[in-house]
């Protein structure tokens, strides 16, 4: 009963109308091949939770361009002009959240917390509709957990038990999202046998990960 499955089978777990979380930060650490398959399959009416919507042209941006998403929860959309255009045209519902808050909301969902108190956003539009609490004379916003049906992640290395290792800045939201979705799918550069990763090297325990997809090497197109 291996966790390693084919790309098409992995993406078949995502149904129209689902909420998905996608790791990555302006493309770095985003599961590009999983996203390409979501676009190819034309999954629709998704709610997308991600730091951003990539740079116009990359795999993440295509989720928006190809209109797979009708609701977006993100921290920054400035690097993909199409997201702003669809938002302004009323075609895409967008909820912008401070990055540190989104991180904690995802973590809270994964960790079974009912919410966290953050000072971020006090005195700004972010306050709207939220409960405020005062602790030790400081005002905080109560921010609630955020979870998804499916998380799409990118990892550098995995063993067949699903233990994940990330590399450099490609880690970002990936390990948090691994804890906060019903189904967790990771695209991995290198899949190794159980026992080949030292216990201290693991960044996401395998119990969180349902499916692994081997990332396919691509030919680098020569310039000119």
């Amino acid at each position: 009963m291996t966790k390693v499955i084919r790309l098409e089978e992995a993406i078949s777990k995502i149904e129209n109308g689902m909420t998905i979380m996608v790791g990555g930060f302006i493309g770095c650490g985003a599961p590009s091949q999983l996203l390409e398959e979501v676009c190819r399959k034309q999954v629709k009416e998704l709610t997308l939770i991600a730091n951003d919507t990539g740079i116009l042209g990359d795999a993440m941006s295509q989720l928006i361009v190809q209109r797979c998403v009708n609701k977006l929860i993100a921290t920054h959309i400035g690097t993909n002009k199409e997201t702003g255009r669809q938002m302004s045209a009323g075609e895409l519902e967008v909820k912008l959240i401070p990055q540190g808050t989104l991180v904690e909301q995802i973590r809270a969902a994964g960790a079974g917390l009912g919410g966290i108190l953050t000072p971020t956003g006090i005195g700004t539009l972010v306050e709207e509709g939220k409960q405020k609490l005062v602790v030790n004379d400081t005002e905080y916003l109560l921010e609630l957990p955020v979870r998804a049906n499916v998380a799409l992640l990118n990892a550098y290395k995995a063993d067949k038990a699903g233990n994940l290792v990330y590399r450099r800045a490609a880690r970002n939201f990936n390990p948090l999202m691994a804890t906060a979705a019903d189904t967790v799918i990771a695209q991995v550069d290198r899949i190794v046998e159980v026992g080949e990763i030292d216990p201290d090297e693991v960044m996401t325990p395998g119990i969180f990960v349902d499916y692994l997809v081997q990332k396919q090497p691509r030919e680098v197109s020569s310039v000119g």
Binding site: F25, P119, T120, R171, N174
Partner: protein, 220 residues
């Protein structure tokens, strides 16, 4: 008066004087990024990149770019020896938890209460706040580094911000190409004036009333 590029250089060098060795600093995109290359001789600071690492190094040589090592603006970057990588939860624990000594960032508007507007112009430009709201609330010191006037000549140092705020009452210092302004309980104090300018010239480009270092209201 210096030409525009020289005035920006002055601004960048002036911000760089605010740090001491060992300070943990987060630099925003644009003018703030240039501060890293303008540090006084012998001063070594530790740069944090909110997408997940500590010890931001110089731009990599051509051909040595690592797709997993980019800065918070999405450009190729490097990690210096002694640096370390982490997830977004740790990154914002560092930021929100008061472990960043200073953040340097640009602004659309800043006002005499230390309010900052930097993340949206309603109906026009809504890129989102990214990590800015956490940085401004969490960093021990918030330094705004920007051109004193907007490109269209509009005034950016106001009595009261009119754009949606990034954070309320968090700015400590405003360094522009015209001068260095400290946010104090009494109001904005113009601590230094860029070479070739007068107090009156700076005040003329500023809506908020500027105080002299002697903290008296000045007749312009």
């Amino acid at each position: 008066m210096l030409d525009k590029e020289a005035r920006i250089d002055w601004l960048v060098k002036r911000v760089a004087q605010e740090f001491k060795t060992g300070d943990v600093v987060n630099l925003g995109i644009g003018i703030p990024t240039r501060v890293a290359n303008a540090l006084p001789e012998g001063i070594k600071i530790i740069l944090q990149s909110e997408n997940g690492y500590m010890g931001v190094g110089p731009v990599p040589e051509a051909g040595k770019e690592d797709p997993d090592t980019v800065n918070a603006g999405g450009q190729y970057a490097t990690i210096l020896p002694g640096g370390c990588s982490f997830d977004s939860a740790m990154s914002f624990a560092i930021i929100r938890g008061g472990h960043v000594d200073a953040t340097v960032l640009g602004a659309l508007q800043v006002d005499e209460d230390g309010n900052l507007a930097s993340w949206m112009i309603p109906g026009k430009m809504v890129p989102g706040m990214g990590g800015a709201m956490d940085l401004v609330v969490g960093a021990r010191r918030v330094i705004v580094a920007m051109e004193h006037a907007a490109k269209n000549g509009g005034i950016k140092v106001l009595k009261k911000c009119t754009l949606p705020l990034t954070a309320s009452r968090q700015v400590n210092l405003i360094v522009t190409d015209m001068g260095v302004i400290e946010v104090t309980p009494k109001g904005l104090v113009l601590r230094e004036i860029a070479p070739g300018l007068t107090f009156a010239e700076v005040q003329a480009c500023t809506e908020a009333i500027l105080l002299t270092p002697e903290s008296e209201i000045v007749e312009v």
